[in-house]
């Protein structure tokens, strides 16, 4: 792949669209995960009364235990969405782009 054709690809609208969509997806996913991650750590550090609340009230299970489970589940769900659903759509765009490039290269 020569430098010339790479710069040609870079100017394609399909490439720009792919890059933009992927960037938006990455930023959204990372912000969501970081929000949960940082929120968790800060709750642990600075809101002990909240983290120590029992839920349900007559049990020995604290909010701390619940939010740990929630972080684990959120991590899995976000990854699933990124890897399986959003990623698949972006893969399709990517494949189409590559196919077009090969097609144009033959001309």
């Amino acid at each position: 792949m020569s430098a010339l054709s790479l710069s040609e690809i870079r100017e394609r609208p399909a490439f720009k669209e792919l890059v933009q969509k992927r960037r938006k997806m990455r930023v959204t996913m990372i912000s969501m995960m970081m929000l949960v991650f940082i929120g968790y750590l800060f709750a642990w550090a600075f809101l002990p009364e909240f983290v120590n609340l029992r839920l349900p009230a007559d049990s020995s299970v604290t909010i701390g235990i619940w939010i740990t489970v929630v972080v684990v589940l959120v991590a899995i769900l976000l990854s699933a969405y990124y890897a399986m659903i959003a990623g698949k759509q972006l893969d399709l765009l990517n494949e189409k782009l590559i196919k077009d490039i090969h097609h144009d290269a033959k001309k």
């Binding site: 750590l41 991590a75 399986m84 990623g87």
Partner: protein, 561 residues
């Protein structure tokens, strides 16, 4: 004053727990890893199950050896591992003996505070996936250094990055092996030296003959066994508590002398810097581990690499949830059980044995043997992964990429990589012997700190910042490496724990809070101030790299060349 000291100790214990969990030697609580341990009676079921594991993996190695003749096959199994299988193997790199023993024991000792490590890991992993899985696969062939040196001066970057990468791998290996030796004494009643030599020998056989294909299968089988073992344990536990989750915690609170405090947060993470330090270590540490990054090259394309990271996260998450149950279950069942404590009231074998005692209580000698064997298999699988990564770094980055300037035959590189495997094995045995009576906690922290400070920043910048130049990358690696080494040595883990001083010069167990920002800043500063012609050319090529990293065009050519 006393109180303050105590608090510092607790937070130190925690950071230690985290690092051990990440770098996975088995013993977290000072008990078995820092001191000598007593040899236990021979455990027959454990030995039988473990021998079965070894036989199966040797057969697989024989099969893999026949499919491994090129460097590409050796380093990355030809890029032909299915995503789901690779995902299980990645999770295997994480679900270590330390997860099973260390996290359980930290819950056992400190209750709910131990959960923060679990959430921290799971919070950091997806970010790795979103940020690097795809671009890494699109830009690299065998090691993450391929990606770092993609558009920079490879002859300058490769040797440096290889050195910091080898630091991580070797420190990690030492921590593993010393832990393994002690664990084997405890579990199998075998001699320390016998354990070290047998682990090193097996690891060399797997990797030298079967390469990445064998290493992946060993990791895969072990991971399946570990998750199965965890599931059985959790199920037996739930049966014990009538499938009522709440009952496990209630019973733990009733058993523990601290009562309700066991489900409440303790005095950990009290200042913002500790919080930042923890977050950074988890996040950047993961991004900088060479043997994990290398796994992302064993699948066919970026999509497969992304999927394997997702499978890994799911398995890790599932297992961590089991660990919460097992930890609190152990707390309520074992704590005052006379069978598992000596006359002085200490747990037999140290607190790390909590999970093994619980296995014995719930499933007798057979389950104990199974869990013990799986724990040993885990060590073996992890050191094999480290060895293949070290071999790739030495043969691909140092030998072929630096000294021979790329002009080597496939055959020659293969020979060098096999010599590297054997060399790693020999080094492992020597280091294992040298460090037998040392406290290796700081060694594993070093591995993690270097990964986070020297490897991760430069890798992220190489993939995402067009302004990066060779000079900036060199500055980042050197300063990241030097500052993390220095601050660990000046930190409490070496000065207080090892040297026995009153106070450490650097107050935090983890240097990442300083060394990671320092690495990023120096990369940035030494790049923008680089006015050389080569730097200008490097900035320009980012445009091409960008196209390749986003589309994956040219991956095939790159791989076959």
């Amino acid at each position: 004053m006393m109180l303050k000291n105590k608090r510092r100790n607790v937070s130190l214990l925690f950071l230690t727990a985290i690092s051990l969990f990440l770098t996975q030697p088995m013993a977290w609580a000072a008990g078995s890893i820092s001191g000598d341990v007593a040899k236990q009676a021979l455990n027959i079921p454990a030995i039988v199950i473990f021998i079965l594991f070894v036989l199966v993996t040797l057969v697989i190695t024989y099969w893999a050896a026949r499919k491994t003749s090129t460097t590409k096959e050796f380093y990355t199994a030809g890029g032909g591992i299915p995503a789901w299988q690779n995902g299980v193997a990645i999770s295997g790199d994480f679900l270590s003996a330390a997860t099973l023993l260390g996290i359980t024991s930290s819950i056992y000792v400190m209750g709910v505070d131990g959960l923060a490590i679990i959430a921290g890991t799971l919070g950091a992993w997806p970010v790795v996936l979103f940020l690097i899985a795809e671009r890494l696969r699109n830009l690299g062939r065998f090691t993450f250094i391929d990606v770092v040196s993609f558009r920079l001066s490879a002859s300058k970057i490769r040797p440096l990055a290889a050195v910091s990468s080898l630091f991580v791998l070797v420190f990690y290996l030492i921590a593993q092996l010393v832990g393994a030796g002690k664990l084997v004494q405890l579990l199998f009643g075998l001699d320390y030296l016998v354990a070290i030599i047998s682990v090193s020998l097996l690891m060399v056989v797997y990797v030298a003959f079967g390469g990445m294909l064998a290493a992946t299968w060993v990791q895969f089988i072990k991971s399946v066994l570990l998750v199965a073992g965890g599931t059985i344990l959790a199920l037996l536990l739930l049966i014990q508590f009538d499938f009522d989750f709440g009952k496990i915690f209630t019973s733990a609170v009733e058993t523990h002398p601290k009562g309700g405090a066991i489900v409440e947060v303790g005095g950990w993470l009290k200042d913002p810097l500790s919080v930042i330090s923890l977050g950074m270590t988890l996040l950047f540490g993961f991004i900088g581990l060479p043997h994990i990054l290398m796994r992302l090259f064993t699948v066919k394309d970026a999509a497969a690499s992304r999927k394997s990271a997702f499978y890994a996260i799911s398995i890790i998450g599932y297992f961590q949830l089991l660990i919460i149950l097992i930890g609190f279950g152990a707390l309520s069942l074992i704590m005052f059980n006379g069978n598992y404590h000596d006359a002085a009231g200490d747990m037999i074998g140290g607190n790390n044995m909590a999970v093994l005692h619980v296995s014995h209580l719930l499933g007798g000698d057979i389950l104990l043997g199974f869990i013990a064997a799986v724990t040993f298999a885990t060590i073996l699988a992890v050191v094999s992964g480290l060895t293949i990564s070290a071999a790739a770094t030495i043969a691909h980055d140092l030998y072929a990429g630096t000294f021979a300037k790329g002009k080597v035959t496939e055959k020659k590189e293969m020979i060098v990589s096999k010599i590297a495997v054997v060399g790693t094995g020999v080094l492992a045995i020597i280091m294992g012997v040298v460090f037998e009576h040392q406290n290796v906690v700081f060694v594993s922290n070093l591995a993690m700190a270097i990964a986070a400070s020297a490897n991760a920043p430069v890798l992220i910048m190489a993939m995402f910042w067009g302004g990066l130049t060779t000079r900036g990358a060199i500055a980042g690696i050197v300063l990241g490496l030097a500052s993390s080494l220095l601050l660990i040595v000046l930190g409490p883990q070496v000065m207080v724990e090892v040297l026995g001083m009153e106070q450490a010069i650097f107050p935090y167990a983890y240097p990442t809070v300083v060394s990671v920002p320092l690495a990023f800043l120096s990369i940035w500063y030494f790049s923008i101030s680089d006015k050389s012609e080569s730097a200008a050319a490097e900035r320009l090529t980012y445009q091409d790299q960008f196209v390749l990293s986003e589309t994956g065009i040219g991956v095939q050519d790159a791989v076959e060349h």
